[in-house]
């Protein structure tokens, strides 16, 4: 057996045995040619008379067109929500409320396959993720909060929790259905009514959810789903009869919202950007750590606010980890989101792809070393190869700013103190990851990370029972778990 010098050794992942395309069938989903606004339990034409296209980012083909809600439409939705709140929803017994939410959960499960296909078509995420993560987690979220509806007084000792009224909810394009569930489920369980706006690039799954809600016989106006872009969102934020704003999106827009509601009594939850540190110590289970890092940054094309976009590796294992990362990168399959074998789908929009390209350029200019996989990319649509930068400095912009794409910045460290300081050295504080086999170190590290979610020896795990939300400029309020009830309640006794 001939042995070669280890630094020239390379594994070949482009094997003669390859996977044939395994596309999920589009015919299992029905998408209308046009969608109106879901207000007061019915589909209503927009008073703007305008519709805009939503496309499939994987091939740039039009999927459907959806109504653009203007201020008058927003007002109509808020009036419907207010009426439903005052006349029906707040008066209904909590047990009955719970049953409606349970029913919605079941129906989401029943239509899981269709929802998954729509989610992948409209947003570009791999069907494996929408099928195995987005849709089931969304259903579970409804299930979890349904059960809280008649048990709220147990959640807040010595308080008598009261609903707020009408919640205006604005959600992003990275997890369209799941974010709708994260917003709607706790709002309904706590007795509020809802006006929800999905992102303009990914409205279809929320509109499908509106169909489900209609089918569930939820009283008209309890949930209103209206589509539109930034102006529609702004109209929701500014509407005087809204009691609560829940927003998930960029820190930039979060700050605008915070200013816009100043001087009002609107309660707010903001779930914003992040630049999570994922920290690997030399005593970590390295292969699992590498897998965690891969899932941490390439899950959903890196369009994840809690993505582990800064990797800190202890110097003694840095070479080894980078080699493992590169090997793992090679086995990632980029391509058709509907193919069951796809690991990395399409970038959500042209605009987002441009942002990512801008950062790739910046990274190279800053002197970091760029490595991308050798995979081929489809010609149409928006695509980005999984990429990692090595030799990154803490002061590089790619290590400081949220890229929101499949781009990992790799930095090294020597001591625990050093990495704690570097990891916390950011305006964000949404999530962090720690990999080490030493229990006492885990507790030290997880305590010292200034972040709302800390994953130790795992990453990017979510559960309806588990609160999620940020410190610092990653926003405030929690979603999920018992703590996720609070943003929708008034505890004044």
């Amino acid at each position: 057996m001939a042995t070669r010098k280890s630094n020239t050794l390379k594994l070949k992942f482009d094997t003669s045995w390859s996977y044939a395309p395994a596309p999920e069938s589009k015919s299992a989903a029905t998408i209308n040619k046009q969608y109106d606004l879901f207000i007061n339990g019915a589909w209503q034409k927009p008073s703007s008379k305008k519709y805009f296209d939503t496309i499939n980012p994987a091939n740039e083909e039009k999927l459907s067109e959806v109504a653009e809600a203007n201020e008058a439409d927003v007002n109509k939705a808020v009036v419907a929500a207010r009426n439903a709140y005052e006349k029906v929803w707040r008066k209904m017994s909590a047990k009955e409320r719970a049953k409606y939410i349970f029913r919605i959960a079941r129906m989401v499960q029943e239509k899981a396959r269709e929802l998954a296909i729509i989610e992948s078509l409209d947003g570009g995420k791999p069907i494996r993720e929408s099928r195995d993560f987005d849709v089931p987690t969304a259903a579970n979220h409804f299930f979890y909060y349904a059960g809280w509806a008649d048990k709220l007084e147990y959640a807040f000792p010595n308080r008598n929790p009261q609903s707020l009224g009408v919640a205006g909810q604005i959600i992003p394009w990275n997890f369209p259905l799941l974010m709708a569930a994260w917003k709607i489920a706790p709002a309904l369980a706590t007795g509020n009514t809802v006006v929800l706006k999905p992102a303009e690039t990914t409205p279809l799954s929320a509109l499908k959810l509106a169909e489900i809600i209609q089918e569930s016989d939820l009283p008209p106006g309890v949930v209103n789903i209206i589509t539109g872009a930034g102006a529609t969102g702004a109209a929701i934020v500014k509407h005087p009869d809204i009691n609560k704003i829940a927003f998930t999106g960029s820190t930039e827009v979060g700050k605008i919202i915070q200013k816009a509601i100043a001087g009002t009594h609107k309660k707010a939850t903001l779930e914003l950007g992040g630049k999570a540190a994922n920290i690997i110590f030399e005593d970590a289970p390295l292969d699992q750590a590498v897998e965690g890092v891969i899932n941490g940054i390439f899950f959903n094309q890196g369009h994840v606010c809690c993505a582990g976009s800064r990797l800190y590796v202890q110097e003694s294992v840095a070479k080894q980890v980078i080699k493992k990362l590169k090997d793992r990168l090679e086995s990632l399959i980029v391509g058709d989101p509907l193919d069951k074998n796809t690991d990395i789908g399409a970038i959500n929009s042209k605009q987002q792809l441009e942002t990512i390209h801008k950062y790739l350029k910046i990274g190279k200019q800053e002197g970091a070393e760029m490595y991308e996989t050798s995979c081929a990319l489809p010609r149409k649509g928006f695509w980005c190869r999984p990429t990692l930068f090595t030799n990154v400095a803490q002061s590089n912009r790619i290590a400081q700013e949220e890229i929101f794409g499949p781009v990992l910045a790799v930095l090294t460290f020597r001591t625990e103190d050093e990495v704690i300081e570097k990891a916390n050295n950011t305006p964000y504080g949404l999530s962090a990851g720690v990999w080490t086999d030493k229990g006492s170190k885990i507790f030290n590290m997880t305590r010292r990370m200034r972040a709302g979610v800390v994953w130790a020896n795992t990453f990017n795990k979510f559960d309806p029972t588990s609160p999620f939300g940020g410190y610092k400029e990653s926003g405030f309020g929690r979603e999920g778990g018992l703590h996720g009830l609070l943003p929708y309640l008034n505890l004044a006794n």
Binding site: M1, R4, T15, A20, A22, P285, Q288, D327, K340, N457
Partner: protein
């Protein structure tokens, strides 16, 4: 091939990397999410067939039984032309001579278990004689078992030296080292045993004897494949992998191939470096191959049971 010398590869095996159980099982289950269809399914099945060590390891084995198995190895399903043969026939040392003769000229290897298989509870000189007997009778490959008792007692040097001495007894025959992972208890120990075996001179590492449950599982195999990868990067030496026991369905075998492809890549995607230790897998693979070719779902009665 030089005999491994423990002096030159001093290694503290208690420092073998640790494995996070939940993480490795998540990764293993991710391989099962690959959808293998059409030509990749057919090609995968053919490759699987070619990687099988057709095995009979029973007290009631006879010359007749072994001969029938060897015929099956050479002619898995004559109704279809051009099918590959299996990789090897695996028998007890006493049956090596019969198998060798039956397989003569076929290119199919004869593998023999040895070293007081399956328990390994015998003195070292007995194990060495067992090995030498198998090799002298024509075994191309020797499947040894490690001393799990000594391993659990922390006597890693004992385990190491034993493997090294069996390797020496093998001469030209390739040595597969069975860790019997079902008796090791944790992935940490699977990894440690893999490291010991590879450093001591194993050509292959193998999960199980097939006599203990659980036998091969995907996460266990993944831990071993990752150990092989690291050993390769450290030394440049390729080590083969053989999951054995519990793999009886084609679909599962294809999942293993996916795992192999995405962990070690092209160089290992052949029967020189990867084997399935199985007896009933072959027929399921054949049924699936015929289904792919004819479009009809198959029944077991149309495939010979050997």
């Amino acid at each position: 091939m030089a005999v491994a010398r423990s002096k030159t590869i001093v290694s503290d095996f208690s420092l073998s990397p640790h494995i996070d159980q939940v993480g490795v099982e998540e990764r293993a289950s991710r391989f099962t999410k690959r959808s293998i269809k059409k030509e990749s399914k057919l090609n995968g099945l053919l490759l699987t067939l070619n990687m099988i060590d057709l095995t009979t390891l029973e007290g009631k084995d006879t010359d007749g039984k072994v001969k029938q198995l060897c015929y099956k190895a050479m002619h898995p399903y004559d109704a279809i032309q051009g099918l590959p043969t299996v990789a090897a026939v695996c028998v007890y040392p006493s049956m090596v001579k019969v198998a060798k003769k039956a397989l003569d000229g076929s290119g199919i290897k004869v593998a023999s278990v040895a070293t007081a298989f399956p328990s390994g509870q015998a003195p070292r000189d007995v194990k060495i004689r067992d090995t030498k007997y198998a090799v002298a009778n024509g075994a191309d490959e020797v499947d040894m078992v490690i001393s799990r008792g000594k391993f659990h007692a922390g006597e890693y040097n004992f385990v190491f030296d034993e493997i090294a001495s069996i390797k020496e007894a093998c001469g030209e025959a390739r040595l597969k080292v069975i860790l019997e992972t079902g008796e090791l208890g944790t992935y940490d120990k699977v990894r440690r045993a893999s490291d010991i075996a590879m450093h001591a001179g194993a050509d292959f590492i193998k999960t199980s004897t097939g006599k203990i449950q659980p036998a091969a599982t995907m996460p266990v195999t993944l831990v071993m494949l990752e150990a092989i990868r690291e050993f390769y990067y450290k030394t440049g030496k390729m080590i083969g992998m053989k999951p054995a026991g519990g793999i009886s369905k084609s679909k599962l075998a294809l999942h293993y191939l996916v795992m192999l492809k995405e962990t070690l890549g092209e160089d290992w995607m052949n029967n020189h470096w990867f084997r399935f230790g199985a007896s009933s897998l072959a027929n399921d693979v054949l049924m699936q191959i015929v289904k792919e070719k004819t479009g009809l779902y198959q029944a077991a009665n149309y495939f010979s049971v050997d």
